[in-house]
């Protein structure tokens, strides 16, 4: 089992071994039907995705379930079947919550049957990064030290997804404690890129990105500390969005670096991401850093176009990318210009210090956030004669190399005699980067940049070279330092045929305009055959923009 030691004795695992079991046993209507060949598949053939199944987008599922066109149970069974068929190979999930998901789907169906509003995410399967607490369900951060730990509470975002009618389908694999850019630091083994199984899905939310790309879930939540939503979204050819810091509650998100972490959505399309963002955003009194203001409505502006919007292409970030990725960004800029935007280049030299500042500040916070895994109260305990030795043995055995590396980096940066030279200086750099963005946003409404400097790289190619791996986040980190929103939209492919993500950056609270731009990019994105997939990575949406046929 990919989940390794995570979660002892959960019946859900057995469900994964036999995908057809649930439909056959619990729903007579489907009893004759093999997985993947459901009766309504033909009706939705136009929306088939890479996996060949129906129910591609969240908005369509929510609409169909709400109108009673099909049941939430049918939707969930279909997705569970896909997971059963293919996740053994991909390992997007640490835990598939089959029973919980089917129960939740039935609740949605009962609401629909009784004429009640099932919520905007009615029946939509949502995957959760395994650092979001789920009551009673193992939440591991893909770390041995938390293997089997079952939180006694739900994260605020999890509760909000449920309240919106979404169906939580499972917990996705990730880099251990979200420290990594490839999902290879997971203690339970890497996730494979659904588009090319020799490549990484990106990270740290690689499992969530892969789950959406593979059609295992219509939507997923990830967390983005230095690019952990956007970079894997780009590498897997899906949309990934990091909200303004404070827009989405962190309560129940297991902390990596508290002043950077934000929860955000993955989806096949920007409008679906918008739907999930609206469901989870908004003030939460359990999170003191949560903004005390209503979440902005982004859906209402999705079709507004980009006419007269001022778009700046960040030259330092384009320069950091490989030639093919840089070309896609320029093409995206041209597309926006054609659509009426006022596009110009902008230089933000401070951006080049982002990576250095980030790798002092984020590990510093992490070194403190991860102190609590001491073997005393929960999670792994390696017995030893004294409390101190027990804690040492537990942490030595429980954390992987990358986590240990960052704890040491962070402890060092905060130590007496080094604090001023490292931590304090990095904080000043952070302030300067924020100032530089504020200056840029006086001239521009949004900025454009690559998401990842390269397309998805091969598994194993960077795992032994931390600096090379860290450079994978060079284009995404500036937004985390600034606390600004940013999102990645698939835009064509690289020379290797793997998807390229273009990043839209916006000032604080400007999610609406960011989505406005994303939709235009998405609708106008070039499509191309991707490697290892049987259909388009990015479906063209007929009748909108410059959609190119497959």
């Amino acid at each position: 089992m990919p989940a390794g030691g995570a979660g002892a004795g959960n019946g859900d695992r057995e469900d994964r071994e036999d995908p057809a079991m649930s439909p056959t046993v619990t729903d007579g209507k489907l009893s004759e039907v093999a997985s993947g060949d459901l009766p309504f598949a033909g009706e939705h053939a136009s929306r088939q995705n890479a996996t060949g199944g129906p129910f591609q987008t969240a908005t369509e599922i929510a609409a169909g379930v709400s109108k009673g066109e099909f049941s939430a149970r049918e939707v969930i069974e279909e997705h569970l079947a896909r997971i059963a068929a293919r996740d053994g190979e991909l390992h997007a999930f640490n835990e598939v919550m089959s029973r919980d998901a089917l129960d939740a789907a039935d609740r949605v169906d009962r609401l629909v049957a009784s004429g009640e509003d099932p919520g905007p995410l009615a029946g939509v399967p949502v995957a959760l990064k395994d650092n979001l607490c789920t009551r009673g369900v193992p939440t591991t951060c893909s770390s041995r030290i938390l293997a089997g730990w079952r939180p006694p509470y739900d994260a605020t975002v999890v509760r909000r997804v449920r309240e919106a009618g979404g169906v939580i389908i499972g917990k996705t694999n990730m880099d251990e404690f979200a420290m990594g850019s490839s999902t290879e630091t997971s203690a339970f083994g890497p996730t494979l890129n659904p588009l090319d199984n020799n490549r990484v899905p990106g990270g740290s939310s690689g499992g969530s990105a892969a789950a959406v790309a593979a059609g295992f879930a219509s939507l997923a939540l990830g967390s983005d500390t230095g690019g952990s939503i956007r970079q894997p979204a780009a590498m897997c050819g899906v949309v990934g969005m990091k909200p303004t810091y404070g827009m989405v509650s962190r309560y129940g998100l297991i902390a990596f670096a508290s002043s950077f972490d934000q929860v955000g959505p993955f989806a096949q399309r920007a409008r679906d991401a918008a739907m999930l963002f609206e469901a989870i955003a908004g003030h939460d009194e359990a999170d003191s850093t949560s903004l005390d203001r209503p979440a902005p409505s982004v859906s209402s502006l999705l079709g507004a176009g980009v006419s007269k919007l001022r778009v700046g292409v960040v030259s330092e970030l384009v320069d950091a990318a490989s030639a093919d990725v840089a070309s896609r960004v320029r093409e995206a800029a041209n597309l926006l210009a054609t659509a009426g935007a006022l596009v110009d280049e902008v230089s933000i030299p401070m951006c080049t210090y982002s990576l250095s500042a980030y790798y002092l500040l984020a590990p510093a916070e992490a070194s403190s956030n991860l102190a609590r895994y001491d073997g005393v109260r929960y999670g792994l305990r390696v017995e030893a004669p004294t409390a101190e030795k027990m804690t040492t043995a537990t942490r030595s055995a429980g954390f992987g190399d990358e986590v240990k590396r960052r704890i040491m980096l962070g402890s060092y940066a905060l130590s007496a005699g080094y604090y001023d030279a490292y931590y304090a200086r990095a904080q000043r750099v952070r302030t300067l980067i924020l100032d530089a963005f504020d200056t840029a946003y006086k001239r521009f409404d949004v900025l454009l940049a690559p998401t990842s400097p390269t397309t998805a790289f091969e598994i194993g190619s960077k795992i032994d070279d931390p600096l090379a791996m860290y450079l994978s986040d060079v284009c995404t980190i500036p937004s985390n330092l600034a606390g600004h929103p940013a999102m990645s939209v698939p835009f064509g492919v690289g020379d290797d045929g793997m998807p390229v993500g273009v990043q839209v950056l916006a000032p604080a609270l400007a999610e609406p305009v960011m989505f406005q731009v994303a939709v235009v990019l998405e609708d106008g994105a070039p499509t191309a055959k991707s490697r290892g997939a049987t259909a388009s990575v990015v479906p063209a949406h007929a009748g909108q923009g410059e959609g190119t046929p497959v």
């Binding site: 650092n131 979001l132 607490c133 939440t139 951060c141 938390l146 730990w149 939180p151 006694p152 509470y153 994260a155 962190r250 309560y251 129940g252 998100l253 297991i254 902390a255 670096a257 508290s258 002043s259 009194e285 359990a286 999170d287 003191s288 850093t289 510093a364 916070e365 070194s367 403190s368 102190a371 609590r372 001491d374 005393v376 109260r377 929960y378 004669p385 004294t386 409390a387 101190e388 804690t391 402890s411 905060l414 130590s415 007496a416 604090y419 931590y423």
Partner: protein, 522 residues
């Protein structure tokens, strides 16, 4: 807000406090000629909030272990702190009472591993605390500077179990997290204290202030107040401070005084024998009455402080601050002045030292309001004060049965001679035991039925008719008391109260032995 206004007012009052106390500050150099001790205290005060500092769990002493806990105070992964505004209010009250400046403040993380600390960091205030730069006026008129009074969370409580010859592996520790996350204010004094007596007085006064602000119940035995002492010694007249040691585990005023005395002696001995005092943290062992080294300066933790990213800065509005301070009653120093004035002090007039001690005690016990109210109603100030710090203090738990009105009537009965001092005490004791009106109680006891002068006459008659027995009584023969009482009872046909008769006999005895004292008394 700035506490400057309050501070200025108190400065004036402070001068008066020194003037009315009628005595100088506590002596410091006693027993240690040529040397001076320099002491600064850190007092941790648990705040009397309903809930903990960062979560909704009950803040209560004595619950079953690990019953007042939740994901937040257990530091479970993903949980986040939310600041309790009541704790901020109480911290601001403490700041105002100590004449501090209340400032915008931020929380930091103090990082170190310990099993009873759920997150393995403590959320505390570091270089931007909520209260800075105040002082505390002591009853003896001395003023101790306050460096800061900041908010922080308490840790859990560890009980080490297992001893008696078993190997180390057999020992274990139990942790109770009920206390984890309880709000604390740490009050750090300047090194202005010079003796164990003054240290004791400082903590006693601070405790009274904390109770008066409503911030604390002041129960040291329950750990509501915990004290660390920073102690150094130097040659008298030296300007430079000696190397200090921090002494922990001081759980009572008595421990504090003993540990300070021990540590002063220890350091003086080290210095006198030509050694150097090592900067270290030391542990007071109550059983052995010694301090022992806990860790050296080199072994001190590097706490790797940094700003707590899960909380936002605390910036109390002017309105909030003034609302919070408006709800506060007067502090002990001011209350002492009021009471002393009611007893005739002020305008350069100092109180008799013994009388001032009674003032201090009355305020300490919270009896000053009762005494002042009774004086307001017409009670004799000195009698009211004396009865309060003696008879009422002895039965302080029952003070709620006593109204200012009935207390004034009692004092006036005594003052007017209708009750003797002893009778008054007996009546007061009854009032405290079951409440009621002093006249009625006196009647029940036969004091009023037999007017005190009638009783006195009857006793006088018996003494005059029994000179032999009286002589034996004055010589200390206790066996004769019952005989004399019996004679008085017979003469009054049982109307006299036995205790009152004894009291009258003792009064006459006192007169015969110290006639001048009697003249003063009535």
């Amino acid at each position: 807000m700035s506490a400057n206004g309050a501070g200025g007012a108190a400065d004036g009052a402070g001068g008066l406090a020194a003037a009315i106390s009628g005595r100088g500050a506590v002596g410091h150099s006693g027993g240690m000629p040529g040397w001076e001790a320099v002491i600064g205290l850190e007092v941790h005060c648990e705040l009397s909030t309903e809930t903990k500092l960062f979560c909704g769990c009950r803040n209560r002493f004595g619950d079953e272990p690990n019953t007042s806990i939740c994901p937040v105070c257990l530091g479970l992964p993903g949980s986040l702190p939310v600041l309790n505004s009541r704790a901020v209010e109480l911290a601001m009250r403490i700041g105002a009472a100590l004449h501090c400046e209340v400032r915008p403040s931020v929380f930091h993380r103090k990082n170190y591993f310990y099993p009873d600390m759920p997150k393995d960091y403590q959320i505390s205030q570091y270089d931007e605390p909520i209260n800075v730069g105040g002082y505390l006026e002591l009853p003896d008129g001395a003023s101790v500077g306050i460096v800061r009074a900041h908010l922080e969370e308490d840790t859990g409580k560890t009980t080490h179990v297992g001893e008696g010859g078993r190997i180390a592996e057999a020992e274990y520790s139990l942790v109770d997290y009920n206390r984890a996350g309880v709000p604390l204010v740490e009050i750090v004094s300047e090194p202005d204290i010079r003796s164990s007596a003054q240290a004791r007085m400082y903590v006693g006064e601070l405790r009274a202030v904390l109770i008066a602000t409503g911030a604390s119940d002041g129960r040291m035995e329950e750990g509501s107040l915990r004290v660390d002492a920073n102690i150094s010694v130097r040659r008298s007249g030296d300007q430079e401070l000696g190397t200090r040691c921090e002494v922990k585990n001081l759980n009572s005023l008595r421990s504090l005084a003993r540990a300070v005395d021990f540590e002063i002696e220890r350091q003086r001995h080290v210095l006198e024998s030509g050694g150097i005092v090592a900067q270290e943290t030391r542990h007071w062992n109550e059983a052995t009455s010694k301090t022992t080294s806990l860790r050296s300066k080199e072994e001190a933790f590097d706490y790797r402080y940094f700003q707590e990213p899960d909380l936002v800065p605390v910036i109390p509005s002017e309105q909030w601050q003034s609302d919070v301070i408006a709800g506060m009653g007067p502090m002990p120093a001011e209350r002492r002045i009021r009471l002393a004035r009611a007893l005739g002090a002020g305008d350069g007039e100092a109180l008799d030292p013994a009388l001032y001690d009674q003032v201090v005690t009355a305020v300490e016990l919270g009896l000053d309001v009762l005494v002042l109210d009774a004086i307001q109603l017409g009670a004799d100030p000195k009698t009211a004060l004396s009865r309060s710090v003696n008879e009422i203090a002895a039965n302080i738990a029952s003070v709620s049965r006593l109204s200012a009105v009935s207390f004034e009537r009692l004092v006036t009965l005594e003052r007017s001679g209708k009750l003797s001092a002893t009778q008054a005490k007996a009546v007061l004791s009854e009032m405290l035991a079951r409440g009621g009106d002093p006249v009625q109680i006196a009647q029940e006891k036969g004091f009023e039925a037999l007017e005190s002068d009638q009783l006195a006459d009857a006793v006088k008659d018996v003494i005059d008719s029994r000179p032999e027995e009286w002589k034996r009584f004055t010589a200390g023969d206790e066996k004769v008391v019952q005989f004399l009482v019996g004679q008085v009872m017979k003469a009054t046909r049982g109307k006299a109260d036995g205790k009152a008769v004894v009291a009258e006999l003792e009064r006459l005895l006192a007169i015969s032995q110290a006639p001048r004292a009697e003249v003063q008394q009535s």
